[in-house]
Amino acid sequence: MASVEISALRKLYGDVVALSDINITIPSGSFYTLLGPSGCGKTTLLRTIAGFHSQNSGSIKVDGASIESLPAYRRDVGMVFQDYAIFPHLSVRDNVAFGLKQRKVGSADIARRVKDVLEVVQLGSFADRMPHELSGGQQQRVGLARAIVIEPKVLLMDEPLSNLDAKLRVDLRAELRRIQRELGITTIYVTHDQEEALAMSDTVCVMYGGVIQQATSPLEIYLKPANRFVASFVGANNFLSVGRDGGSAALRSGGADVSAMLPGSDAAVACAIRPEALRVVPGQAAADPASIAIPANLREVSFIGREMEVFATTETGETLKAVARPDPAVVDLPEGSPVTFTAPRSDLLFFEDNETGKRIA
């Protein structure tokens, strides 16, 4: 149980700015997720907290006490490594027991705790295997077990589930969350999977290019993305350009008037719509007043289990993607058929038209 506070943190690799001006406050016991694309600096931030390299400037405090001067081994910060880092010379059991022995836990106690945690990660029968006899996913679970068994003050996890299958991932996700709640370990979790982030976290922090884009609750991130990057990263990946002419504004594709929703600036603006907010109907269709309609030509329908993904091209050449429960009327349409996408006006988001453009109003 410990709060973590990071201020004005900056980290360079040579000339590469890996982290620039990171400010984060994590309440004690909460589950904090760093979400961002590959190379955005998530691992770097974790490693800086763990003490594996020192920042160029800024400070990290745990429970109000600055930990910069503490060496890594005294930070009591558990970590699950992205490349597993299972000790190749120790058996699964000894890997997991490693941290406990370090803490001088009694051997009966160690045996029990190791057994329990191996059950949790479903490796009970693998205790005596050597790491090179495990598959990639099995190794990752050993790493996870090794970190949680010591019940550290702060737990850092670097994509601990990325190599697991969907079923195990979902199971472990719930299990992780349960253990975390039970022990009340303040957890910083790195993932590039927005679904995972939204499902597990108290706070989601979206990073990009070494900069924090937004850090807030999952619902807020989802409903009120602070900028275009966040919106696109958490799944609002239809961007439509907006034509402006004095006070009036309209979507270029389909021409729906959106003046009412845009205060009178002249900056270039993009309109974002989540794929799941879009409905698809075959042929031409008009929209009710609370919605907009965009005519398009079907390009591809793909089936991803419980949903269908529909791709289509508008007359102005923009691509739209919708995700919806499979609708036979749509699935069976041939490529090139005219369809109409509709979306409630309340689901439209507007951003300044650049990669990390701010949300407007």
Partner: protein
């Protein structure tokens, strides 16, 4: 569908067979011819086990046996106690003058036989200058003579093997392992012995085994510093040099006992290693940290101190070479008399030394890369056999090997090799294991999937090997080649049997000067050899250091 069943021998199988043939001809054949001698009665030339009975029943030999184990084990321990920390410090911390340290550590190995031990006597003998210095200030120091002196010299002479092997391995340990250990609460020290040490254990044990085998085989040091403390090597040397002539049956028998000891140690090491093979992807390499304060000072003192102390005998030799001499006597003051006297024929000997050693090392480098691959990546009985055979050259005393070579390759049907050819071949086969050991430990740390990726991209085995494996084992190859080169250019015992007037080498010249009591000459020759080798070593390290930044 027609499958053209054309027989295409698999590349590595061909290589394996070729290696086996070379080893059979250059190694097994000559050794067997000599080893038979241990079962022969010196007088009647009939078969006998009497030589072995003699060795195992007479105190003279049994004491030698005990002494050998004693100084061998403690010398190795000492070498590890210096070599491992030195490797760790230089691999994990920023040490000013790292190239310098590595170069000196290598130069320590360029100590021609005998002269180094004499240098210790000049420092720590009854009338040594260090002894005298302490006497003047009223402290009486123990002299260098006896078991403790031998152990001290072994320690300082052989630690570079442990150092070099360990350092190479440390540079390839996946950083995440150490991070994970630290993260789980290990202090740097605990991290070192609980995680790092086990991970580099294969390399350490290889270095230690080399030390052990060399300490057992070294005769110069115990011969000069022993003063009644006899080891098997001095016993074998005495038996061999006894001017009785005839068949050297006792010398060979004692040599075989020495070989058996070393063989046991090697087999034990292999047993232990069999279970420990760790590979890393080499993409997450360790970084060096900066120390500060007294730790920094301490570590620097240790690193520079160790190599400087180990270099002391060499420095004494260099110093001696500049002393004014008259005949064998140092007359006080400095002069270039010794250099004047060697000027005439030293250049030829230097050229020979370099020519033979370099020729052998080129062969060794190429062949050890191939052999290592076969040993590490191929899991066949043949590769096991090759791995095993690779220990043998360590174990066979040079004299035994040379007699075998001469009887096998100079006389009889294959008597086509001149002395130069024989020397290159014998250097090649005797020093090959240095290359192979070092390359092997390097290779073990590389994930097989890298080669698989190359093969998968269409590179035939040889190409995958040259383009992916070889560049990745360059550090191991460099260290291996350096060790082969240094030990080849210092080779004495077999050269002495083979050389002729056109092929005399520096170590032979140095040895002969020592025999005549001409220390000035020996020192000057040693200094020249040291200088030439030093330049090479330094150049290689500079090259390797630059590469460091370019990759890995």
């Amino acid at each position: 569908m027609s499958t053209r069943a054309r027989f295409r021998p698999e590349f590595w199988n061909v290589v394996t067979v070729l290696i086996l043939v070379v080893l059979a001809v250059l190694l097994i054949l000559p050794i067997l011819r000599v080893l038979m001698l241990s079962f022969v009665d010196a007088k009647t030339e009939a078969f006998t086990l009497g030589n072995y009975v003699e060795v195992f029943t007479r105190n003279y030999y049994l004491n030698g046996f005990k002494n050998t184990l004693f100084v061998g084990a403690l010398g190795t321990l000492g070498a590890c106690l210096l070599g491992i920390p030195l490797a760790f410090f230089t691999a994990r911390f920023h040490i000013a003058g790292r190239t310098w340290i590595s170069t000196l550590a290598i130069l320590v190995l360029v100590a021609p036989p005998f002269i180094g031990a004499y240098a210790w006597i000049m420092m720590l003998g009854s009338n040594g200058f260090i002894t005298n210095f302490f006497e003047r200030i009223g402290i009486s120091t123990p002299t260098i003579y006896g078991a403790h002196g031998i152990i001290l010299v072994f320690t300082l002479k052989f630690f570079p093997f442990v150092f070099l092997m360990t350092q190479t391995a440390l540079n390839a340990v996946n950083k995440s392992f150490e991070d994970a250990a630290e993260n789980l609460g290990c202090t740097p020290w605990q991290r070192f012995y609980k995680v790092t040490l086990p991970l580099v254990f294969p390399a350490i044990s290889t270095g230690a085994i080399i030390c052990f085998v060399l300490s057992i085989a070294d005769f110069g040091t115990p011969a000069i510093l022993g003063r009644g403390f006899r080891t098997l090597s001095t016993i074998a040397l005495a038996a061999y040099r006894s001017e009785l002539g005839g068949l050297p049956t006792m010398a060979v028998t004692v040599s075989i006992i020495m070989m058996a000891i070393s063989m046991l140690a090697l087999v034990a090491q292999r047993r232990i290693l069999a279970k420990r093979r760790y590979a890393s992807a080499l993409t997450n390499l360790p970084v060096k940290s900066k120390l500060s304060g007294w730790r920094n000072v301490g570590v620097h003192l240790f690193c520079h101190g160790v190599v400087l102390i180990a270099m002391l005998p060499t420095l004494v030799v260099v110093y001696t070479s500049f002393l004014q001499t008259k005949g064998p006597v140092f007359t006080g003051g400095f002069g270039l008399e010794s250099y004047r006297r060697i000027m005439l024929d030293a250049p030829g000997a230097i050229a020979n030394s370099f020519l033979f050693s370099l020729a052998a090392v080129v062969l060794i480098t190429a062949v050890s890369a191939l052999i290592s691959y076969v040993i590490v990546r191929r899991d066949t009985p043949a590769s096991g056999a090759i791995d095993f055979l690779m220990m043998v050259p360590y174990l066979v005393p040079g004299v035994v090997m040379a007699i075998g070579f001469v009887t096998t390759f100079r006389n009889g049907p294959v008597g086509i090799f001149g002395a130069a050819g024989l020397l290159i071949m014998i250097y090649f086969i005797r020093r090959l294991p240095y290359g192979v050991r070092s390359t092997t430990s390097s290779l073990r740390q590389i994930k097989p999937s890298l080669e698989e990726a190359a093969v998968n991209l269409g590179a035939p085995p040889l190409k995958a090997f040259l383009k992916v494996t070889v560049p990745l084992i360059v550090p191991g190859l460099i260290v291996g080649s350096l060790m082969s080169f240094i030990t080849a250019i210092n080779e004495l015992s077999s050269t002495l049997i083979i050389y002729d007037s056109g092929t005399i080498t520096m170590p032979v010249k140095i040895y002969l000067a020592v025999l005549d009591g001409e220390f000035g000459l020996a020192a000057a020759l040693s200094t020249v050899l040291l200088l030439c080798t030093g330049v090479c070593v330094y150049a290689v390290f500079r090259f390797a250091d630059n590469r460091d930044s370019a990759f890995v």
